[in-house]
């Protein structure tokens, strides 16, 4: 009995060893398609779009290139995994959010896309200039923009019509006015519908700095010759203006406090509890799907803090980074894959399926895009807003942006709970971020 068991175990061991050896052989072989791995952070509808694009690329390049796409969780989680790999190159190409850009540049793991642009004589002007500006530092295009978005004002058009509102607000002065008319109160005094509601999302804070035409950090918003060493939003007064608006909105009950992130705000908007909200262009498709016939969805520009603000929005979302794996065959294959992902046809499909911008100018000429715009004119607003901004509002680059964003959100949460006032919140944000930045710069440069 024992002998038989031992024999079985030994047999199993031998088989598994044989498999282990076998799998190594297939990797080592030089023939066959070049295999590259693509890490992304797109779940849900967006993730399905990625999967079908990758499948199409693989079908087109059968026998030559084989891309494996791996969903790695949210941007934050994916970023943390890449970081934890400590430069062991777990993949060939990785999608990183906008605020991870400075970290990636400093990491030394990256092969700037510019190198292949040069090698391949590829014309950078194919990319929307306001999008390319974000990822171009000192004339070098570091990563390939892929899923670009800006924030928008979404509104319940049915509610607007009922209240007789025809002009979509473009600044907070106008939002206060309109929200008052949209507010519906139950007989018992509780609010049935708020006129406006927004999530506690640090991205909005960053956008409003650009909308005021002001910098978030020093040293030319972290894009100069030297990296950022301190925040600027406390010195130039922009931060306080934003937090004062946020404070007023919460304190006067114009918006309920809808927690960190945008999930709760989105849910409240879909169910009709708030009549206006702020969200990324990338949420357009899922909002349309989730709202269905409940009400008509309207879209407007991301509102100014003050009527006479002169700046513009910057692109958020993510871009695709090539990792410096040192394997030329794989890097060549990665470049082919990149070109495919941003080709006009693919970008038009990507736009239709998700709501992210087509980052390629020529995508606007495709049939797919034209049909979609005709069906959902809301997409056009996002594109107009992008064209109306300018490269100088491209937004800050900051190594510790994830922490900075969390810090801002933390102080807004305290503001909502009245444990800090507007002035104290801005001072706290600046103090915490500067301290973190100082330590980061000390150990990393």
């Amino acid at each position: 009995m024992k002998k038989t068991l031992a024999l079985i175990l030994v047999g199993l061991l031998a088989v598994s060893l044989a498999f282990a050896a076998g799998s190594k052989e297939t990797v080592a072989k030089d023939a066959g398609p070049v295999k590259i791995t693509f890490w992304h952070a797109m779940g849900g509808v967006n993730g399905e779009a990625i999967a079908s694009m990758v499948a199409e690329f693989n079908a087109l390049n059968a026998g030559k290139i084989e891309v494996t796409s791996e969903f790695q969780g949210s941007y934050d989680e994916e970023f943390a995994k890449l970081q934890a790999s400590g430069g062991n190159y777990p993949c060939d190409i990785v999608q990183i959010y906008d605020i991870g850009s400075r970290y990636m540049i400093d990491s030394g793991w990256v092969l700037p896309v510019q190198e292949y642009v040069k090698k391949d004589n590829w014309n950078v002007n194919q990319i929307e200039p306001n999008i390319a500006a974000y990822y171009t530092i000192d004339g070098t295009l570091y990563s390939m923009p892929f899923n670009s978005s800006t924030p928008l004002l979404y509104y319940n058009k049915t509610a607007f019509d009922e209240a007789g509102i025809t002009k979509v607000p473009t600044s907070f002065e106008e939002i206060y006015e309109v929200a008052e008319k949209l507010r519906v109160v139950n007989p018992d005094g509780s609010v049935k519908r708020y006129g406006f509601g927004m999530g506690n999302y640090g991205w909005f804070f960053e956008q409003w700095m650009g909308k005021q035409g002001l910098h978030y950090v020093n040293n030319n918003n972290g894009r100069g010759e030297q990296y950022a060493t301190a925040v600027a939003f406390d010195q130039n007064g922009g931060g306080l203006e934003i937090v004062k608006v946020w404070d007023k909105v919460l304190k006067e009950g114009i918006s309920p406090y809808l927690n960190i992130g945008n999930d709760d705000a989105k849910a409240a908007f879909i169910s009709g509890n708030i009549a206006m909200t702020l969200e990324s262009t990338a949420a357009l498709k899922s909002l349309l799907l989730n709202i269905g016939d409940r009400f008509e969805l309207g879209v407007g520009y991301f509102p100014n803090i003050h009527k006479n603000d002169v700046g513009g929005v910057s692109v958020g979302g993510g871009s695709l980074w090539m990792l410096n794996t040192g394997d030329t065959r794989r890097e060549d294959a990665t470049w082919e894959f990149l070109k495919f992902m941003i080709s006009p046809e693919q970008q038009a499909i990507w736009n239709v399926k998700t709501g992210y911008f087509p980052i390629t100018v020529a995508a606007a000429e495709t049939e797919t895009f034209k049909q979609n715009i005709a069906q959902y004119p809301q997409f056009q607003v996002a594109i107009d807003q992008l064209h109306d901004t300018a490269p100088q509002y491209a937004g800050a680059l900051l190594s510790i942006f994830p922490e900075a964003r969390t810090t801002v959100e933390g102080y807004i949460a305290r503001l909502a709970n009245r444990t800090v006032d507007a002035k104290g919140a801005v001072e706290g944000m600046a103090r915490d971020i500067n301290k973190a930045l100082e330590e980061y710069n000390l150990v990393n440069y």
């Binding site: 509601g197 406090y257 992130g261 922490e403 959100e409 949460a413 444990t419 150990v443």
Partner: protein, 302 residues
């Protein structure tokens, strides 16, 4: 098969002085696994806690016993002490709440009645639910404007974003999640209480509550003790509820130590500070475990 094996008959064939190595060879596989996954990370954490680390987590500047010391920085930070206090409140409430609900539910299903199997299944169900999935569901239930709970109560309370409710919400969810395993273990414990004890208590004229207090509780005290330890350890490790419901906020209201370790290491790139927090958490858990075993000698009847 089972022959008596006389080791002396075999051993002398090998030279005696080789023997000291033999037991260690047998231990080697276990030591390798433990070393790799337990001891190495443990000592590495202590090592890292003495440094400022760069963005990839490599020790860069030795700061122990200087004014930038990770521990010193923590001890000087208000947020850290708030986090310690929150952790204790959280662990205390969850360990006790989970135990009480487990005890109550298992007493309720102790006697068989129509449908008691169904009730038992309901009480045990939380074991089968992943904390992340439960948190996502609760996020909807607790939604500030159109959540189920607010609709039922007719209120508009922000359960996860209001300092007054955030910790209670996370505690409530965690208690519910731990109640299932408490129910199973305590139910099993109840089955092992000898019926004679109840019979003689009944003869002595003890009512239900008296029997529970004087017979049941002392008889299952080893199970209760075991469950408290499991609850405490589990509560110290709670993470997904915090991440998905409150992100440690608002302010430091739900900033338990495990969450702050995660934030320092994986969002703020400060592995040194995260390591220092881990070491402190380790010491806290160590002290609690020692106290528990001291207490066990006095309070538990085996």
């Amino acid at each position: 098969m089972a022959k008596n094996f006389d080791t002396r008959a075999v051993r002398p064939a090998i030279k005696g002085h080789h023997f000291w190595l033999e037991p260690y060879l047998f231990l080697l596989p276990a030591l390798l696994v433990f070393g790799m996954f337990l001891y190495y990370p443990f000592f590495r954490t202590i090592f890292l806690s003495m440094f400022l680390t760069n963005k990839t987590g490599h020790a860069k500047i030795f700061v122990a016993f200087t004014d930038k010391d990770n521990y010193l920085t923590l001890f000087q930070s208000k947020s850290f002490w708030a986090s310690v206090a929150v952790t204790f409140r959280f662990v205390f409430a969850v360990a006790l709440g989970g135990l009480l609900i487990g005890l109550t539910s298992s007493l309720l299903t102790e006697k068989k009645y129509r449908g008691s199997n169904f009730t038992a299944a309901v009480y045990a169900m939380p074991i089968a639910i992943a904390s992340a999935a439960a948190s996502m569901t609760f996020k909807m239930v607790l939604h500030p404007t159109n959540g189920l709970l607010n609709n039922l109560l007719g209120t508009q309370i922000n359960f996860t974003g209001d300092v007054r409710y955030a910790l209670a919400s996370v505690i409530g969810l965690t208690i519910w999640l731990t109640s299932g395993i408490n129910f199973i273990f305590i139910s099993a414990g109840l089955r092992n209480v000898p019926a004679e004890l109840y019979d003689s208590a009944a003869v002595d004229g003890a009512g239900y509550w008296r029997r529970v207090w004087s017979v049941t509780i002392p008889s299952i005290s080893p199970t209760l003790f075991f469950q408290i330890i499991i609850n405490i350890i589990g509560a110290f490790q709670s993470f997904s509820q915090i991440k998905l419901l409150t992100e440690g906020g608002p302010g430091d209201a739900t900033n338990v130590m495990v969450w702050s370790i995660y934030m320092d290491a994986f969002r703020n790139f400060r592995f040194g500070a995260a390591a220092a927090r881990s070491v402190i958490l380790f010491l806290i858990v160590l002290v609690i475990t020692i106290i528990q075993f001291r207490f066990e000698k006095r309070g538990v009847n085996y």
